[in-house]
Subunit: 198 residues, 2 copies
Amino acid sequence: MSSSPVQLPTTATRRHLSDRQAKTVHKLTEAAVAELIEVGYPALTVRTVAKRAGVAPATAYTYFGSKEHLVAEVFWRRFEGQEPKPLNPHRSPAARATEVLLDFALVVADETEVAAAVTVAMLADDAEVRELRSRIGLLLHRRLTEALGDEATPVAISTLELAISGALLQVGTGHLAYDAMPALLAAVAALVLGGTAS
Amino acid sequence: MSSSPVQLPTTATRRHLSDRQAKTVHKLTEAAVAELIEVGYPALTVRTVAKRAGVAPATAYTYFGSKEHLVAEVFWRRFEGQEPKPLNPHRSPAARATEVLLDFALVVADETEVAAAVTVAMLADDAEVRELRSRIGLLLHRRLTEALGDEATPVAISTLELAISGALLQVGTGHLAYDAMPALLAAVAALVLGGTAS
DNA sequence: AGGGCTGCTGGACACGAGTCCAGTTTCTAA
DNA sequence: TTAGAAACTGGACTCGTGTCCAGCAGCCCT
């Protein structure tokens, strides 16, 4: 089940981690996922993740200031790591937008526990998490504008961004089922950009 | 500066507070606002609010389980307390929707500190706050549907709800200026419902 | 006025989070 | 091979949070 270590990101928490540090951080994020699946978000602490990763708590704290930071980092790594799909100009703008939004929303779709945890963690009022949110927002914005080119107004793009923020929020707070997001986002994209989703 | 006690809500934290309890809770929410304005959200604790309200910490904790709960309650009380505006069928659906959304978004518009704090507090992963979110979401939904009647599709209403969730989230996280919200929401409503905002 | 009930008090307590640092291991390069 | 640097260790420590409870005060009813 553990993915083969293709290329560990070195830009995670501090500028330029050494190989050794990158490996430690990677062990921690992997352990965080395992911990989430096994005991769930409320029971997860930086200390338990450190133990699972075979690392001292103090070490974990040098990279992650809080459990929210740790979990949010999991999301960021996966999102950033998605290879860009070749954009298909033959599909409608709504379809292209939907694709981007769903790629984003379903980053952690495979494990329900992880999805819920990530969404909650992303909401934290925490300096590091704020930073990650910024990066994520920026990357999403870039992907959206690239997918839509000049075929969408700024307001339309803003609306899509607000909608996906809201969707994630409502998933995190339990008001929206994770499974229901795809259809809803597709419908929103169709409404906002005109035409049908597929 | 303290508002005259018109009618203290008795449905706050537990079913049916006695007059005396309602008074205590009211003192606490008022003190919370004052504390927010004076020292800001990060420095606010249940204990400091209790002290300001002239109440023992343990007492405060019998009504509010966390500072997030306390601050979220401030929002809920103001939102719930808004007297309904008579809906004007001569205005466009977009205009009516905008009005509802702005009433919601600007509940705490008078004090910036309070606005920021409330938005952050509302995101907390906390049983009581979740409950408040539910109530707020429900009430907003009701106001929206009442304002729009059958002139809006369910998807349009969902989109508006997602957008305002997202807007609040982005304000809370600092990605969107509180002042910029009205114009943005108006534009979104116009886009989603057709026509212009006013 | 007096008894009883409801709500408030205040201080002790348990708990978890995050910080800190002196000491040890591991890596690197000469 | 060895010195020095970089990273990790482990355990102690502080701090804030939320809980608990035995006692006290204010209110209501007769």
